[in-house]
Symmetry: C2
Subunit: 116 residues, 2 copies
């Protein structure tokens, strides 16, 4: 129960990933598919942070890597997150939250036309 854990769940993006992993194990690719607004690389980096905090673990499975949430590491926070997520309004809130809290460069538009 250390500061890295609390910092890790402080990010909406990382909570989104935890949410996806809550009920099922998923490959990195599957997680990315569920988050179309970021690149695969970004997802991988956040998974690394989560793993560093001990909140997820992964195992290789053929050419895939399967991620799994470590609920026990979350302790009492697990219940808190669940409560948050079962809240009927959550889906609406999540959208707003992600929109207002995203950082880093905007998704670049496909530069159409110029062919190089």
């Amino acid at each position: 129960m250390d500061a890295a854990l609390i910092s890790a769940i402080g990010s909406p993006r990382r909570r989104e990933i935890l949410r996806l992993l809550w009920e099922q194990e998923l490959t990195a690719g599957a997680i990315h598919q569920a988050m179309p607004d970021v690149t695969f690389g970004a997802v991988s980096l956040q998974l690394k942070v989560l793993a560093g905090a001990g909140l997820v673990e992964s195992r290789p499975d053929a050419q895939f890597r399967v991620y799994k949430v470590r609920r026990d590491a979350l302790g009492p926070v697990a219940a808190m997150l669940e409560e948050m997520w079962t809240d009927a309004l959550w889906h609406l809130k999540l959208k707003a939250e992600l929109k207002e809290s995203r950082r880093g460069p905007r998704p670049r538009r496909q530069s159409k036309g110029k062919k190089r």
Copy 2:
């Protein structure tokens, strides 16, 4: 129990303030005195964030403003923070954490010499 709460405790600086307020009520000035590495303004801004998340409340007392932590708002997180803080290693950890996580401009040196 919403996202603002989790985000609020995600910041080491704000956790430091919560720690100071944990056992006693304090004025904004007293909190600032206990945090000599930031300006009064910075402390005030963080108190505002904490208040916005419902984690602290304040009442005027003469020309002062007394702040108080709202433990109930923290729910299960309260116990987690306490555990973190009673950890014997905590003091060492805190220093390292603050050093590595501070943001914003460096403290400016007194511009000595040139009298403007």
